[in-house]
């Protein structure tokens, strides 16, 4: 009996079959389990938020399944290929954004959809992944921290799609796209002096944006955020009702399917952007903190994986994906609790809605591929 054989039998005993399978599939076990838990919580909350609609629950679970499949499949793609495809995906995404601008379908007053004949598709969703990947690709062979000229290229590369999406108009998504690119730059070691000067620049940019770029309804949201009581029939209504829902939930909540704000339909958009308030009313502070901790675990684990990745591209790309997810969570919970203005950002995995969930799962699939422990591949 050789040493090798002994060794392998010991390994067999220590690893369960599942763990081996996960390893072979480049799936990170803890992250996978956390994501499934978030998905399950989302399904439970959605059932209540939708007024016990089995159809919506089924649709959401189908999408979650689709997302999981996408995640597992993308985790199999070698990092080298992801890296090489990144700039192409970016260019295609940009072309499609331009197409949408000229030919796109208009749904709910915004021009976001591109009809490809067989499927309707939001190019802005693709850009949520393509922008950070392309930025990481651009930086991965350059010395870091990036030089000023690289930074200018990145600024254009992030700025153009951001503006195109903001014009659709989809403020929430453009914010996320900008954040995903910005995160890459920050993680690449952007010097403190640049960070300070960008903050300095934001003031004039904000003034210009206010006067020329923002649509009336977007301005209205900001104004209403500053003083929700000013428009209690219109846009202030969301914030007022969502705070009442959360506040009245107390520490332990009113109980599942018992939130009066939710079930009596006081709370608008309760199954989509404002679903966090549903958790707050029915499960109370305990429920909200649980959800927040779960989501923070997902972010923390992803960041940890990013830090252990082998090469610059993988680190930057997956670090950005993790932090963008964090922006998602913070912007949504912030707006629902009245800390931030209402921009249309859903709560990941819990809000009802299709494309965003699949994109997010795809992002985690990419992250898992980039950070999987491989035998020194694609240096």
């Amino acid at each position: 009996m050789s040493v090798d054989a002994l060794d392998s039998s010991r390994t067999q005993r220590t690893l369960t079959g599942t763990a081996r399978l996960l390893l072979a599939l480049h799936i990170d076990g803890p992250l996978f389990i956390a994501l499934c838990m978030v998905g399950a919580v989302g399904a439970i909350v959605l059932f209540s938020a939708s007024g016990s609609s089995l159809n919506m629950l089924e649709a959401q679970l189908m999408r979650f399944g689709l997302g999981l499949t996408a995640m597992i499949m993308l985790a199999q793609v070698p990092p080298r290929i992801i890296r090489n495809v990144a700039p192409m995906a970016y260019v295609i995404g940009l072309i499609m954004l331009l197409l949408v601008m000229f030919t796109g379908d208009i749904a709910m007053g915004a021009q976001r959809w591109l009809d490809l004949g067989f499927v309707r598709f939001q190019p802005s969703e693709l850009m949520k992944l393509a922008v950070p990947l392309a930025c990481a690709w651009f930086l991965h062979e350059r010395p870091l921290p990036p030089s000023l000229s690289s930074l200018l290229v990145l600024l254009l590369g992030i700025g153009i799609p951001t503006l195109l999406i903001a014009e659709q108009p989809d403020l929430g998504t453009s914010l996320l796209v900008a954040a995903s690119g910005g995160m890459v730059v920050l993680l690449a070691g952007l010097q403190i002096r640049y960070i300070l000067s960008v903050v300095g620049l934001l003031v004039p940019v904000a003034i210009v944006a206010w006067h020329f770029l923002l649509h009336d309804y977007q301005k209205q949201r900001v104004l209403t955020f500053l003083d929700p009581q000013s428009d209690p029939l219109g846009s202030g209504y969301h914030i007022i009702q969502s705070q009442i829902a959360i506040g009245s939930g107390g520490v332990f909540g009113k109980g599942y399917l018992n939130g009066s704000q939710v079930q009596l339909e006081f709370l608008p958009e309760r199954s989509t952007d404002f679903i966090f308030a549903v958790v707050g009313e029915e499960w109370g502070l305990m429920g909200l903190v649980t959800v927040i901790l779960l989501l923070m675990f997902v972010i923390g684990r992803s960041l940890y994986l990013a830090a252990t990745a082998h090469d610059t591209f993988s680190r930057l790309a997956s670090g950005s994906l993790a932090l963008t997810f964090c922006v998602y969570v913070f912007v949504n919970t912030g707006m629902v609790t009245g800390l931030l203005p209402v921009v249309g950002v859903p709560l990941p995995f819990i809000s009802y809605g299709g494309t965003a969930m699949v994109t997010l799962m795809a992002g985690f699939g990419i992250l898992m591929s980039l950070c999987a422990k491989r035998k020194l591949v694609s240096r």
Partner: protein
């Protein structure tokens, strides 16, 4: 090279990344800590406050609908006002069983059981605390019946509201339009925040076109309500915070319509299927806008039952149909002055050129003659006389010489074949034919060919050519104004109710109709003057004795083509729906025109000059004469208006 080349330092980069990731993690924890502390503040510190708001007592926001702007005639006479009425409103969150409640209300006869699905659909789209009207304008009897059983229907209340009221009922209804309950279609168009608490919106005419002027802006008030949804006054700091914002009333509209003229025209047309429009040539103001039969717009503000609605829409006389802007008729001989101008413009004839009319026109190579309306012919006629006598042969000839495309291009300048751009929706184009048009209009090759014979009928406003009464009045105003055109309009000024400030709207000029030689106007207008005044003028009977000078032109549009060989039948012998339409256009006073009018009577018992001209005359009289002159006039011709009998053989 001042700087050394930077090379990648993998170790340093990894360190940098880890440092940044650590900072990011810290920021994340701080951010989520902020959210959690906000949650603690909302759910622990302010728990009582929010629990109160959500469960026991809460603030309900009640919208206060704005008063709709008034619609007044040009002199300030009210045509559409607001009147108090009572309506039944249902608030979803206070009703336990909506089905049972609606059926209960239907059982006491307040709503139609058939309308329940519609009401439920409407309820579904509203917020649970909105009071949704389910029955408008309750009668005294209905009020009493509901009041007696009120306790059976919690969540259903009687509310006083202002509703639209049209004091003159049918008068000018097609111009003013009407309001009706906000429909699913309307919801797509309107900003619903501004319509909270509003039940009615403009559906047609001025009420529709000027909706955003008339509507105003909703206000709101906050109410403290208990769990049953009843308003309560609570002691403590809550009550002090209640807010109220006053609604902003809609703007009043001054129409261009002169109600005195409008009413006179309506009386003159009563009993006919007809229309009449009068325009001020100097600015496009519409002085009268009549389409008969009409309907009572108050029915729509109240809400029609299905049978009532069907009775209106399926009436063969089509009272809802706006004949002024949607009725298209062959203009008949009323196009002759324009045709004459076109011939002069293209140099086909001079005004002095005369022809000898034998009562029929023959085209070389065609055996069938085109007959004149007057069997024996008119003898020698020059241009002016051919307009005055309405000699068809003269116009057959010039039309044939011009060709249809040149006619098309010239008459287009008078607004024929296109919408005039009046400020209410629904206007029709009419049809100004051309060879191009025929190619597009017919699918089969052999139908697409333009025959010279087609052009000949166009010369007298028959054949393919059609126009709306508004287009005819507009063209008449253009002739009166010697080419100057203005977009017809119904609203001349807007009064801001809050400030009392009246802003006059500027007339909108259109590209003028062109003539090479301005004396062409004298010929065309002279011909029209002769129609009304010369011994051989077709309309002298109705217009010659006026205290001011009238220029006009009669027209009779064939509905039913009498075979050319057959002896012309008298209008009276034909079935009513086959009788000719009677038309008359006119303007006055001749030298400084103040009013241009077009009258179209469908299937009239007499021709244009016999039947339509006296109506046009009546409109001109009421507008141009003082009340004293008018009374004098009435006294003179005793057997005043009643239907003049057509003279035998005179269909023109």
């Amino acid at each position: 090279m001042p700087r050394s080349v930077r090379i990648k330092d993998h170790h340093a980069e990894t360190q940098l990344f880890e440092q940044r990731a650590a900072i990011a993690a810290v920021i994340m924890v701080i951010a989520m800590g902020l959210v959690i502390s906000r949650l603690v503040w909302l759910q622990v510190v302010k728990y009582e406050y929010f629990a109160d708001l959500s469960q026991g007592n809460r603030i309900r926001i009640e919208p206060i609908p704005p008063n709709r702007g008034l619609i007044l005639d040009r002199n300030g006479l009210p045509l559409a006002t607001n009147a108090p009425s009572y309506q039944l409103e249902l608030t979803k969150e206070q009703v336990e069983d909506i089905d049972a409640t609606l059926q209960g209300i239907a059982a006491i006869g307040l709503i139609d059981p058939e309308s329940i699905p519609n009401i439920k659909r409407d309820l579904r789209g509203r917020r649970s605390f909105d009071a949704v009207p389910i029955k408008l304008q309750l009668t005294e009897l209905e009020l009493a019946r509901f009041a007696a059983r009120r306790h059976q229907f919690p969540g259903v209340e009687i509310r006083p509201r202002l509703t639209r009221y049209y004091p003159l009922a049918e008068s000018a209804v097609h111009a003013i339009g009407y309001v009706g309950a906000i429909s699913e279609e309307d919801k797509k168009r309107l900003d619903l925040d501004d319509y909270a608490g509003t039940t009615l919106t403009g559906k047609n005419g001025v009420e529709y076109a000027y909706e955003n002027q008339l509507h105003g802006k909703a206000g709101f008030q906050q109410l403290l309500v208990n769990a049953q949804g009843r308003s309560v006054e609570r002691i403590g700091d809550e009550a002090a915070k209640l807010e109220r914002r006053e609604p902003i009333a809609g703007n009043d509209l001054f129409l261009t319509i002169d109600q005195r003229v409008q009413q006179a025209a309506e009386e003159a047309l009563r009993g006919q299927r007809a229309s009449a429009v009068a325009i001020d040539p100097a600015n496009g103001d519409i002085i009268a806008f009549v389409s008969t039969p009409a309907f009572d717009p108050n029915l729509f503000a109240r809400g029609l039952s299905r049978p009532e609605y069907l009775a209106l829409t399926e009436d063969p006389r089509r009272p809802m149909y706006d004949r002024v802007i949607r009725g298209v008729y062959p203009p008949g001989s009323t196009v002759k002055p324009m045709m004459a101008l076109a011939a002069l413009e293209y140099g086909i004839v001079t005004p002095e050129n005369s022809i000898f009319c034998r009562g029929a026109y023959r085209m070389p190579g065609v055996s069938r003659p085109w007959r004149d309306w007057k069997p024996g012919g008119h003898g020698h006629v020059d241009m002016r006389k051919s307009i005055a006598t309405s000699c068809d042969v003269y116009f057959y000839d010039i039309a044939n010489q011009m060709g249809v495309d040149r006619i098309h291009d010239y008459l287009e300048q008078f607004g024929m074949g296109q919408t005039t751009g009046i400020d209410i929706p629904g206007e029709k184009n009419g049809l100004l034919p051309s060879t191009d048009w025929k190619k597009k209009a017919f699918r089969r090759k052999e139908h697409q060919i333009w025959f010279p014979g087609d052009t000949i009928s166009i010369g007298i406003g028959q054949g393919y050519m059609t126009a709306t009464p508004l287009q005819l009045a507009h063209a008449t105003a253009t002739i009166a104004n010697r080419g100057q055109r203005f977009k017809p309009r119904l609203v001349r000024a807007i009064r801001n109710v809050t400030t009392g400030e009246i802003s006059e709207l500027k007339p909108s000029p259109l590209p003028p109709a062109h003539v090479n030689d301005p004396s062409a106007w004298d010929v065309a207008i002279g011909g029209m003057y002769d129609v009304a005044n010369a011994p051989y003028g077709t309309a002298r009977g109705a217009t010659a004795n006026a205290p001011y000078k009238i220029a006009g032109k009669s027209g009779t549009a064939q509905v039913f083509t009498v075979a050319a060989n057959e002896k012309m039948k008298k209008a009276g012998d034909l079935a009513e729906h086959l009788r000719d339409h009677a038309l008359f256009i006119a303007f006055a006073p001749l030298d400084a025109p103040r009013i241009a009018v077009a009258v179209v009577v469908e299937n009239a018992p007499g021709g244009g000059s016999a039947f339509a001209a006296p109506i046009a005359r009546r409109i001109l009289d009421v507008y141009l004469l003082t009340p004293e002159q008018l009374a004098e006039q009435e006294a003179k011709k005793k057997p005043a208006l009643p239907v003049p009998v057509p003279r035998p053989g005179d269909t023109e």
